[in-house]
């Protein structure tokens, strides 16, 4: 059986000492970044991108993956102890995790989040293996029109699902697509929107864009807020031990959360933040006594934590098998792979089986490491929360600059980070989502290439998108998504209008 042979070859890759070291480095760094409020997984991965140019693509992907799911473990720590989510994915964990901590059950909440994260990852790994094989087979039937339609669906889904202002979200995607146009046009060789700067002929540097939008903009936005957190109490190992009732209550939420996470992680455009919110909503709905939620219900910690870790694993499915990143973090990973000369897609399972299976095995190893390292080391992570942000951020700024410089030795790129960082801060201030900009930026050239190819093949007949069954499904789904989000906006506007009038009168 191919899967079995694959797994064995995967062990050979993942247990290679050089890959193993980067796996450990990735998960430890991910946890640290997740624990520290003020720097997210996006910023961490952008910071690490330059390092990946110096190591093998396998080790690079394993390390970046480790940062991604490691941050989910760490994110829960600050959520539970300080009600300050370390990562957006763990925002839900504050709802019941923090009340548990106030009741003196912080240890149990941390235990629940770590065990649930581990279980969720295992569920995600099984789904990853199963779905990838299936999708890679299906993807060989995809034509250019199908790819273009699917990427458009992904972008529309990312900007409409779970977004209150779909127009603002979609505007970010479009802005990203435009920035993706900068550089030499592959088909004609024309330098587009470069304004004669030779530094822009290859396009805007992905690392500079990611670091400006996430590293710099996040630091500016957090200098004041991240300083204000309290100091957490010490957590002792003995406090981690859950009661039998806790364990019984965790079981089903973990399974449900894991399943939800697998599904939404693999869909284009959704991802781990939405999965954890949905899992929380689901647990409250099936609970016999929903009023316990928000008061320290262990189900509200276990379910979402399992969901976001499962989603973090299955998010690799569309990225690796179709070459289409479902969320911005995956877009960065895709960027890292492309820089190494590896084009993810249907052929990747066949062309680079060692890489694929090595990654799968490393997910298992990394998550096991996180579990056995983090439970005893919880005291260290808690003490990390005592470092004031003012000691960290100047160093982050310097590392951002040197990281960008190291990619191709260009000080133009450092200056670009300043410009992008300023724009990113303004965008975040006006509540535009810069993550969607990055997703558009990475997908832009892919969409354009496939769109042009599809229209060339069909001799300029746009009906090709409806005639091909695969692409027709994506087009219909895209239209449905846009319609439902328009309906949602219209409904909100109607129900908000009387409220706004009332507040006008009083204010």
């Amino acid at each position: 059986m191919a899967g079995w042979d694959g797994l064995i070859s995967g062990f050979a890759v993942a247990l290679d000492p050089s890959v193993l070291i980067y796996c450990v480095l990735g998960v430890v760094l991910g946890t640290v970044i997740g624990v520290l409020p003020g720097i997210g997984a996006m910023a961490a991965i952008s910071l690490l991108l330059p390092i990946t140019f110096y190591i093998s693509p396998e080790a690079a992907l394993v390390m970046l993956g480790g940062v991604y799911y490691g941050a989910q473990y760490g994110g829960a720590v600050a959520s539970i102890l300080l009600r300050l989510p370390g990562t957006p994915q763990s925002a839900v964990t504050t709802l019941d995790g923090y009340p548990m901590a106030q009741q003196g059950r912080a240890g149990v909440a941390l235990f629940a989040s770590m065990v649930a994260s581990f279980a969720g990852s295992l569920i995600g790994i099984v789904a990853l293996v199963w779905l990838s094989g299936w999708l890679a087979g299906a993807a060989t039937k995809f034509g250019a029109a199908d790819y273009a339609a699917m990427m458009v669906l992904g972008l529309v889904a990312a900007s409409t699902i779970g977004s209150k202002r779909p127009a603002k979200a979609f505007a970010m995607v479009i802005l990203g697509l435009i920035l993706g146009c900068v550089g030499t046009d592959v088909n004609s060789g024309v330098a587009r929107l470069t304004f004669g700067r030779a530094e822009l002929f290859d396009g805007i540097n992905l690392v500079a864009l990611a670091m400006g939008l996430f590293g710099v903009a996040e630091v500016i936005g957090n200098i004041r807020t991240a300083e204000r957190n309290g100091v957490p109490e010490r957590v002792r190992l003995r406090q981690l031990i859950p009661t039998r009732q806790d364990l019984r209550r965790m079981r089903l939420p973990v399974l449900r959360g894991g399943a939800l996470g697998c599904f939404f992680g693999a869909l284009p455009g959704t991802g781990s933040t939405i999965s954890s919110f949905l899992s929380y909503a689901a647990e409250r709905r099936v609970a016999r006594d929903p009023s316990r939620f928000g008061q320290g219900a262990i189900e509200g910690v276990a379910g979402p934590e399992a969901a976001n870790n499962a989603a973090a694993i299955t998010a690799f499915v569309p990225t690796l098998t179709l070459g289409i990143p479902g969320d911005p973090i995956m877009a960065l990973m895709l960027g890292a792979l492309v820089i190494h000369g590896i084009q993810p897609g249907p052929m990747m399972l066949e062309a680079h089986p060692g890489m694929f299976w090595g990654l799968v095995v490393s997910f298992g190893i990394g998550n096991l490491l996180l579990l056995i390292l983090n439970l005893p080391l919880i005291g260290i992570w808690v003490s990390l929360l005592r470092i004031p942000f003012r000691w960290l951020y100047p160093a982050i700024i310097v590392f951002v600059c040197l990281g960008v410089y190291s990619v191709r030795g260009s000080t133009f790129d450092i200056a670009a980070v300043a410009v992008i960082g300023a724009a990113g801060y303004l965008l975040a201030l006006a509540r535009f989502n810069p993550a969607l900009l990055l997703l558009g930026f990475v997908l832009g050239p892919l969409i354009e290439t496939n769109l042009r190819r599809a229209m060339l093949i069909s001799r300029g007949d746009p009906m090709v998108f409806l005639e091909r069954p695969i692409s027709a499904v994506f087009v219909v789904a895209t239209v449905l998504l846009i319609l439902t989000s328009l309906l949602g906006v219209w409904r909100r506007a109607r129900s908000a209008a009387p409220a706004a009038e009332a507040s006008d009168r009083t204010g």
Partner: protein, 147 residues
């Protein structure tokens, strides 16, 4: 009434950006046809969509109340100035001076007063940078101003 200025300005800037991109690309690059799209096709279409979205964001904001988020202008200025100093200093002043300058300038944004901790931080970060990037990663970059 306090209008929703974030969306008003954000939408307006995006609409202006979209229009500028569409017009610039229409004027400078071949648009082509549906069958054989030129290099201008994709950016022009995107620019038009962005213009429409910008208007769609800005218009309702005029009629809607909104709360202004605090704008940390000085924080932004310190951080961006630190990066700029680093970008322009690295080739001319070398790694040590530009790192120290950038760290010190960035630390100005921190809400805690006092100079001692800033100097300590600057020394620590500069030493760490030298250790990691010059000694550890063997980065080829001048350490001191050009000899």
């Amino acid at each position: 009434m306090q209008r929703d200025y974030h969306d008003l300005w954000g939408g307006a800037v995006l609409a202006a950006t979209g229009a500028a991109v569409a017009l610039y690309c229409l004027g400078n690059y071949d648009f082509g046809s549906l069958r054989q799209m030129g290099p201008g096709f994709f950016p022009v279409v995107l620019g038009v969509i962005l213009t429409l979205l910008g208007v769609l964001i800005a218009l309702p904001a005029w009629f809607r109340a909104g709360k202004a988020a605090p704008f940390a202008a000085l924080d932004a200025l310190a951080v961006l100035a630190a990066i700029a100093v680093f970008a322009f200093g690295l080739g001319r002043l070398g790694l040590i001076l530009s790192t120290a300058g950038a760290t010190l300038i960035a630390s100005l944004a921190a809400p805690r007063p006092g100079w001692l901790w800033r100097v300590v931080l600057t020394v620590v970060v500069t030493a760490l940078t030298w250790l990691i990037f010059k000694q550890g990663l063997q980065m080829t970059v001048p350490l001191w101003p050009g000899i």
